[in-house]
């Protein structure tokens, strides 16, 4: 199930967070060769802040992280505003009900394509549910083009904020989704879940 980690419960998730930073190192630095900072095997940057919310999908049996994503408030400096603002043709969308998703990371031990797709679609449901619960109305992302097709396939009504540009060989673009109850239903349906089936851990709502 998917756990929400924010500043109020961070202390009880130190091991999980450490596992997540290590997975990020394995995926973004070792595999994708992104030029990122890494200390003690953990990839952490200036946008892993006190305000950051992490969604982490943990396998109930093994305790291993299957996938994770980072969500940052757009009122404060974030990836799109600080590093990729040239990707938005009409300015970076910011506001108290807009959050940015970044560092989507799957467990590097997932080898089959269908397992990776499933982990991603599952997380997409989690992000939508988290957004509806918080009353956010938009989520923004900087993503590469191959990932865009997956987001569309999962049933997300994701739309571009500008023309993508080449950064390190891959075309990267700024995108956003509007958060609606209807979209939550759609992504759940695509995942084979029933329209009202929550995949967040029960105390998720208390923490948030």
């Amino acid at each position: 199930m998917i756990h929400l980690i924010n500043k109020t419960n961070r202390n009880s998730y130190t091991d999980i967070l450490s596992q997540m930073y290590k997975q990020r190192t394995a995926v973004f630095i070792d595999r994708l060769r992104w030029d990122l900072n890494c200390e003690g095997g953990e990839e952490i940057d200036q946008f892993d802040t006190d305000d950051t919310i992490y969604l982490v999908c943990i396998d109930d049996d093994s305790g291993k992280i299957m996938s994770s994503i980072r969500l940052n408030p757009t009122c404060k400096p974030h990836l799109m505003s600080e590093i990729f603002n040239d990707l938005c043709s009409e300015g970076v969308p910011v506001g108290p009900t807009i959050f940015e998703g970044s560092r989507y990371c799957y467990n590097p031990e997932l080898v089959s394509r269908s397992d990776r797709l499933e982990a991603m679609r599952y997380m997409i449901c989690g992000v939508m549910e988290c957004a509806v619960m918080h009353g956010w109305d938009k989520i923004t992302f900087v993503i590469n083009m191959p990932l865009l097709a997956h987001c569309l396939r999962a049933g997300w009504q994701i739309y571009p904020l500008g023309i993508p540009q080449y950064k390190n060989k891959l075309a990267v673009g700024a995108f956003a989704i509007d958060v609606t109850q209807e979209d939550l239903k759609n992504v759940r349906e695509n995942m084979g879940l029933s329209p009202a089936q929550s995949i967040l851990v029960p105390d998720f709502y208390d923490v948030a």
Partner: protein, 263 residues
């Protein structure tokens, strides 16, 4: 200038959400890329297109003579563009020498023949979004006639084109049912070469139950033999090559051939 391209992209996405059939969708894309200087396009799942499965699409305004010739010569088995897209996620230009250098004589010949049908220079975007086929979207133009920024806009629209088309063709593509966990376990062992008897001993079930599971798997993939089922399962990613190859009984370190340096 690029601002104008973005307007066209937004317009295309907006309009494509409204069209009601694949012909309208293809016309809309055709119209959009012509404004950007392209002459032809093809957006397709990589299958034998004259025998199109339910969950595959082909939208194109390529000269039909080329399509028929391509099919007659069975070029889809060796098509340089489809072949490249299987293992590549970044777009490429057909005249790019570093790409051309990778092609053998037969593939080069296909490209040369295509240029006789006014399909000489183009830009291809590989698309890998599904559980099954790889796909691509190519646009064709006169050399130097299209601005690189426009190609970026086309790259963006191509993804929307393919996903919209697939969604229109079959709403149930994501609802493809997976075999059950037990069925997958059986199939993995069959792929490893185990007999029904061996599978039954490993899983602690009767041989008849194994046969029952196998029959259900054949039914599931609508195939007649176990070999076909294994291939389907690999194709859909229900079992992975790693599961089949790695899950062998562990050998003693000295037999396994791996290098381990004691500290």
């Amino acid at each position: 200038m690029s601002h104008n391209y973005f307007d066209q992209v937004q317009n295309f996405i907006e309009q494509s959400a409204k069209v009601t059939n694949l012909v309208e969708l293809a016309r809309l894309f055709d119209l959009t890329i012509r404004k950007l200087g392209c002459t032809h396009f093809i957006c397709l799942s990589h299958v034998d297109v004259f025998n199109l499965p339910d969950d595959a699409v082909l939208l194109s305004n390529y000269p039909l003579e080329w399509g028929l010739y391509h099919h007659e010569k069975q070029y889809f088995k060796n098509d340089p563009i489809m072949d490249t897209c299987k293992s590549r996620i970044t777009p490429f230009i057909w005249s790019d020498p570093s790409w051309r250098a990778l092609l053998n004589f037969d593939k080069e010949k296909i490209l040369n023949e295509a240029s006789e049908f006014e399909l000489g220079e183009g830009h291809t975007i590989p698309i890998h979004s599904g559980d099954g086929y790889s796909a691509s979207c190519s646009v064709v133009f006169q050399p130097g006639e299209v601005d690189p920024h426009a190609l970026m806009a086309i790259q963006l629209m191509s993804v929307y084109l393919y996903e919209t088309a697939i969604k229109m063709k079959t709403k149930s593509i994501n609802q493809r049912k997976k075999p059950t966990t037990r069925q997958i376990e059986c199939l993995q062992m069959i792929a490893m070469g185990k007999s029904d008897w061996a599978v039954s001993k490993i899983l602690g079930i009767s041989e008849n139950t194994v046969k029952f599971h196998v029959k259900a798997i054949l039914n599931h993939y609508k195939v007649a033999t176990r070999n076909q089922a294994v291939i389907r399962a690999l194709f859909y990613g229900d079992i992975s090559y790693m599961d089949v190859e790695v899950n062998k009984p562990a050998l003693k370190p000295e037999q396994s051939g791996f290098i381990h340096l004691p500290r």
